[in-house]
């Protein structure tokens, strides 16, 4: 199996770039240790990719060997860009350990595997779990650990939480009379639900850009679920129907309730530095640090005052006027939307395919 995947990868490299795997190994040889493994992950290794795709390589060295930063070391072989991460196997095990502890933690992923670096870590985990070994021995996980189960569950949860976030926003935007933001987030929510459903089948992580390609291929049975959401509705009136349909479709895909009323209890608005400073008729909502000021009308100012001093406000406890004001500020980038709890995989009704429960 591994040999067949290696050969498929070699053929793709040959076809797209006229480059042989041996040339790649030669170029990265200076990074090698005696007993390391060279794994190729990313779109080209997963049967995706094209002539513009780069090659992602993890060189996993023995304990005590040198490792690079999380930024890849770039190499070029003719038209092929080769990005290399050099890490020790004990660092990779620590990363899987971290992932397992995050999965066992009910806290939301945002800030755990949610930012750009941790997304890089998420990709790294998938390269290790699903990568093609092109030289050296297969990596052996610590006893009791299944690389693919950890990486897969992590991906499911990441996308499930993104789905919840997007669909909550879609419904808030619709309620606040912002049909454009509502429709855009509704589509995001369905796409995230599809990503979670595909990930639950044990498919490795690839960027969002490959979702539609997967729906044309290995996840073709989900294509019809996506079709109504491929194109955003024209005009505000259609967005209410679009959002409601998106919530329904995602609920069916993920097997969890996503109505705004049910989600609000776990969501809160978080204020960074906005303060209301009245000066006569001017009701200025100001954040000097951000160099930003808004003029509020008296009703908005009252809604703001009634929110109280706290740095965060539960969405469930906001009045309609407060909800609309908070959403408007959020849409301007001035408030954050935070979650008090994550969305553990066990709470979802996804068909998990070959994905095992992580212990």
């Amino acid at each position: 199996m591994s040999g067949a995947r290696r050969e498929q990868l070699a053929e793709r490299l040959r076809g797209f770039h006229a480059v042989e795997l041996e040339q790649v190994l030669e170029v990265i040889d200076y990074l090698r240790d005696g007993e390391d493994s060279v794994l190729v992950g990313g779109s080209l290794a997963y049967g995706l990719g094209n002539e513009k795709s780069d090659l992602d390589i993890v060189v996993a060295g023995p304990p005590g060997s040198q490792s690079s930063s999380r930024m890849p070391l770039e190499h070029f072989i003719d038209t092929l860009r080769v990005d290399v991460w050099k890490l020790r196997v004990d660092e990779l095990e620590a990363l899987f350990e971290l992932a397992q502890s995050r999965l066992a933690d009910p806290a939301p992923f945002a800030g755990a595997f949610g930012d750009v670096f941790e997304q890089a870590d998420l990709k790294l985990l998938h390269r290790v779990a699903y990568g093609v070994v092109i030289d050296g021995p297969q990596l052996t996980p610590e006893a009791g650990r299944e690389y693919r189960a950890v990486a897969g569950q992590l991906l499911v949860r990441e996308y499930a939480e993104r789905m919840r976030h997007a669909l909550f926003l879609a419904q808030l935007a619709q309620a606040a009379g912002r049909p454009l933001a509502a429709a855009i987030n509704a589509r995001f929510g369905v796409e995230d639900a599809l990503q979670a459903a595909i990930a639950a089948r044990g498919v490795p992580f690839s960027d969002n850009k490959w979702l539609q390609t997967r729906l044309e291929g290995e996840a073709g049975d989900l294509r019809e679920a996506y079709r109504p959401f491929m194109v955003l509705p024209e005009g505000g009136e259609a967005s209410a129907t679009f959002v409601a349909a998106a919530v329904g479709a995602a609920e069916e895909l993920a097997g969890t309730a996503l109505a705004a009323g049910a989600l609000a209890a776990d969501a809160a608005w978080e204020n960074g530095g906005l303060r209301l400073l009245p000066a006569g008729d001017l009701l200025a909502l100001l954040d000097p640090e951000q160099d930003v000021v808004y003029e509020l009308d008296p009703e908005e100012a009252e809604a703001w005052r009634a929110l109280g001093e706290g740095p965060s406000w539960s969405c469930a406890e906001c009045s309609e006027a407060q909800g609309e004001l908070c959403f408007s500020l959020y849409a301007e980038g001035m408030l954050k939307l935070t979650w008090s709890r994550g969305l553990p995989v066990g709470e979802l009704g996804l068909r998990v395919g070959e994905l095992d429960e992580v212990r």
Binding site: R81, V116, A166, L180, K209, R214, M230, L232, E332, K336
Partner: protein, 169 residues
């Protein structure tokens, strides 16, 4: 000489954000689009043209309307399109962001995306593609100049986060 009728801090922040937050991905999307179309990957082409339009819309909104801050990714397209509502370019962005029942012909799609990118770059300036051999060092050189500029107006850096991890701790 052109005088800037806006606070120096906000002007430089907006221009810098446009150049560095959205510029490099927008350049990459056009390459991805060409690759997708060459390989007949229409799903990828749909996604890429949408993302390119969103990034260009944000760049244009930053430079034409000087909005600050930029909201989180889920809200950026709506934020930019609402801000650009009075600009003719908004319709071009919207069509690509909205998506297509039937994808336009390859050349037509590339042309529309390239034109949008050209208009954004005209306002924002060119940022070399750090992911290409010819753009790597020029991008580093330009980043250095921008760091000096934003520091001069008392702003923090806004280079892509993965460029600065650890150094801004």
């Amino acid at each position: 000489m052109k005088s800037v009728d806006l606070g120096a801090r906000r002007y430089i922040w907006c221009r810098g954000k446009a150049a560095w937050l959205m510029g490099p991905p927008a350049a990459q999307w056009l390459e991805d689009l060409r690759g997708a179309l060459a390989a007949g990957q229409t799903g990828l082409a749909r996604h890429v043209s949408r993302q390119l339009a969103e990034d260009c819309a944000v760049m244009l909104a930053l430079t034409l309307t000087h909005g600050r801050p930029v909201p989180e990714p889920n809200m950026r397209a709506a934020w930019a399109l609402e801000r650009l509502a009075a600009e003719p370019v908004a319709a071009d962005c919207w069509e690509l962001i909205r998506g297509f029942d039937e994808l336009p012909a390859d050349e037509q799609l590339v042309e529309r995306c390239a034109e949008l990118q050209r208009r954004a770059r005209e306002l924002v300036g060119h940022v070399p593609d750090a992911l290409s051999p010819e753009g790597y060092y020029p991008a580093l050189g330009l980043a250095r100049e921008w760091i000096e500029l934003v520091s001069a107006v008392g702003e923090g850096g806004f280079l892509p986060g993965e460029w600065t991890r650890g150094s801004d701790a």
